[in-house]
Amino acid sequence: MNAWFLLVRRDLRLGIRQGGDAALVIAFFFLAAILFPLGVGPEPQILARIAPGILWVTALLAALLSLDRLFLADYEDGSLEALALTPLSLEAQVLAKAFAHWLGTGLPLTAIAPLLALLLHLDGAGYVALVVGMALGTPSLSLIGAVGAALTLGARRSVLLSLLVLPLYIPVLIFGVGAIEAAVAGLTARPHLLLLLALLLAAIPLAPIAAAAALRQALE
């Protein structure tokens, strides 16, 4: 357990010292989201209607941005092989790396999302569903993304990662947006949030198994 936290801390520290991915991710989230008012026009009713979708889609793309770095730096300088030799299982290491990735992207995205929602005139009833949904959904994005990052490690094409991961992100997007829209419509967001939680609880054990299997192939 101690080694696990050390790995999380190492990855976080590397992330911060190598130029602060978190700040870039947030900047991208902001920029991508403000393209929509410029693109579809500034009418508050239209923006309020499509705000849940804008927020989730841009958050999803922002989470995708730093994924290719998840294992790549460690793979290229050989530390991934050293890590694979440690007693900590590869599955646990994937979980630690995905957790560090979430702390660097998902968590800041969740924190900044209400501010963007304000700019997009999201209805007041949707904020709780937005924040809770993001908090439950973004860890799944990091975990599913870890599988994609491990599978494409050393591949010749970098766009490939998005092609693999985006289809698998769709359920998170559907339930995340569904929660906000239910809340705005005056219904309960609970079922959607519970489904997001279910996705997360399924991804926590399954994604590290798949990603670790892919990493073993890469290290062979």
Partner: protein, 237 residues
């Protein structure tokens, strides 16, 4: 299964099976088309347009079946390092993508006269579209590495991860009641479709399955022959 791992034996067995498979495919597809286009009655609501079903439903069934085959072959390849399973999975993927594309296009052509729209963001349509992209992702992944063996194994893991989509496709029409109609053939309590339409559909489904088997055998054989030619060229040159 394991005895077929020897490529020479596979070539012999598949060469013997192939003409029979191809012949049966031709017979079933011809019979199915005649039954579907001329014998089966028009629908009391949909009229003649219901005949699209005889292509759409078998294609949809093949899209899922080929993915299940792809995942199974991938699992066999990962667990037993069965060399032919790898080839089978890789050669099945473009066929599955093709069936999925036929399913999407025919569904779109059927939806326009029946639902009044080419496309709706219905749960089943969306999940089949996701299936199509899973096929494309798999095909892109197996060719993305300098080392083909690495690509094959990464692809196999992706195929197993993507299998979560299959139950979503199957049950999407039950979980979300949307525009796409619920199951009428594979359901508890027997099919709700009339026998006069069920029979042509079953013949077409068998025809599509045989078509897949035939094409898969042809593709696997040409792949093995290509490898042999390459080995011979290297030995000579």
């Amino acid at each position: 299964m394991l005895r077929l791992a020897n490529p020479a034996r596979f070539m012999r067995v598949s060469g013997a099976i192939l003409p029979w498979c191809a012949g049966a495919t031709a017979i079933f597809l011809a019979a199915g088309l005649v039954l579907a286009l001329f014998v089966a009655p028009p629908d009391y609501q949909q009229g003649e347009a219901v005949r699209i079903m005889y292509v759409h439903v078998p294609a949809a069934y093949m899209a899922s079946l080929v993915y299940a085959f792809l995942a199974l072959a991938s699992a066999v390849a990962l667990i037993w390092r069965h060399p032919l399973a790898d080839i089978a999975a890789q050669e099945a993927a473009p066929l599955g993508a093709g069936f999925t594309a036929i399913c999407l296009v025919s569904g779109s052509l059927w939806g326009e006269p029946m639902w009044g729209t080419w496309w709706v963001w219905d749960a089943r349509l969306t999940s089949v579209l996701v299936l199509f992209f899973l096929y494309l992702g798999y095909i892109a992944l197996i060719h993305a590495f300098d080392d083909p063996a690495r690509g094959a194994r990464s692809g196999a893991i992706l195929a197993l991860v993507g299998i979560v989509n299959l139950p979503i496709i199957k049950f999407s029409v039950d979980w979300w009641s949307t525009l796409h109609q619920p199951a009428s053939i594979m359901r508890l309590g027997g099919p709700t479709i009339d026998p006069s339409m069920l029979w042509p559909l079953l013949v077409m489904a068998i025809g599509f399955t045989l078509f897949f088997v035939t094409l898969l055998l042809v593709r696997m054989r040409s792949r093995l022959l290509a490898a042999k030619i390459r080995a011979l060229r290297l030995a000579v040159g």
